[in-house]
């Protein structure tokens, strides 16, 4: 390669105007054994660039596959639990037994009904006290009489 050419390239290189291809030419030139003596100082520079290009990253990178928790699965699980719950519930026996003898059954029913009516009457008698309240209201009615009397004494202002 013509030395002149290299010198020209070097000047362009220092101005940052060389293309990658031209820089490769320079690198090739300076990787030779013998270089023009006045350009000797460029040699280590280009050698350094080439050597440093080789360095590699060897460490392992732990890539965690981060699983983002998906909340919609919670609802799926909840529905499943509910379904299972209903299933087992419907399976449990609701059988309380039955009377075989109609007379006995009748007696039992009468007994239960008697108990219900007893309790019911008790409740009604308690409600009977509400009459007292009516009486009280009637007493309050006397207030009207007072009002009337006052109206007679003082002429109501219109």
């Amino acid at each position: 390669m013509v030395l002149n050419n290299i010198e020209k390239l070097l000047e362009k290189y220092e101005n940052g105007e060389t293309t990658l291809k031209e820089e490769q030419q320079l690198k090739n030139y300076f990787s030779q054994e013998t270089v023009a003596p006045h350009l000797e100082m460029y040699k280590p520079m280009f050698a350094y660039f080439s050597v440093n290009q080789q360095e590699q990253f060897t460490k392992d990178v732990p890539l965690k596959t981060r699983r983002i928790f998906d909340y919609k699965w919670i609802s799926v699980a909840a529905v499943a639990v509910l379904m299972i719950g209903f299933y087992f519930k419907s399976n449990t026996k609701n059988d309380l037994g039955t009377y075989q003898d109609p007379q006995m059954a009748y007696n039992e029913v009468v007994k239960s009904l008697a108990m219900i009516s007893n309790q019911f009457n008790k409740g009604v008698s308690t409600v009977g006290y509400l009459d007292e309240m009516n009486k009280g209201t009637a007493t309050l009615g006397y207030l009207n009489t007072i009002e009337n009397t006052r109206n007679i004494i003082f002429k109501p202002v219109k």
Binding site: M41, P44, N52, E55, L63
Partner: protein, 169 residues
């Protein structure tokens, strides 16, 4: 997106992320941590991959921001990043024999550059990105990148010339 798909996207440029991080943070361990962090962030945001124009450029920008943040917090804590693992042992051994390894000098010169120039040199001269891609990654305009690149290259050349001539004279 499965892990394999993700790795297929990320594998080609993970080394570049690492090297950029190392350029900025100097220490290998720090750079490894930063790379790991960036990759994990990418993995967690993998659902947004379609929105990115260029995942690689996006990752480089992320790396840049992450490392600069890290540097800032380090400065705030008044901690210095340890330079002990700055060179690998082969180089230092060779250095002992040869007294001065010029390649090592280049590394040191670049380490002295301002952050922005460091990144531009890293992305252009080492990773060989196009200028437009670098503009994207660093959020700079074309001229600014060119200027930074030119300045960085000139500084490296000047300092190298100096050390070079010290060796002779």
């Amino acid at each position: 997106m499965t892990q394999t798909e993700f790795l297929n996207i990320v594998m080609p440029f993970k080394d570049k992320v690492f090297r950029l991080a190392k350029r900025l943070l100097v220490s290998t361990e720090e750079a490894e941590d930063a790379t790991q962090e960036v990759l994990i962030k990418l993995w967690n945001n993998k659902s947004k991959f379609e929105q990115y124009k260029n995942v690689e450029a996006f990752s480089m920008t992320m790396t840049k921001n992450f490392c600069l943040d890290k540097l800032k917090s380090k400065q705030a804590q008044n901690l210095k990043i340890v330079h002990s693992n700055y060179q690998d042992h082969n180089v230092s051994l060779q250095k002992e024999v040869e007294l001065k390894d010029s390649m090592d000098w280049v590394g040191r010169i670049i380490a002295d550059l301002p952050e922005q120039q460091k990144m531009v040199i890293q992305l252009r001269d080492i990773e060989q990105y196009e200028l437009d891609e670098i503009c994207d990654m660093l959020d700079m305009n074309n001229t600014a990148v060119r200027v930074a690149l030119s300045r960085a290259r000139k500084t490296i050349r000047e300092k190298l010339t100096n050390t070079h001539s010290y060796g002779i004279k």
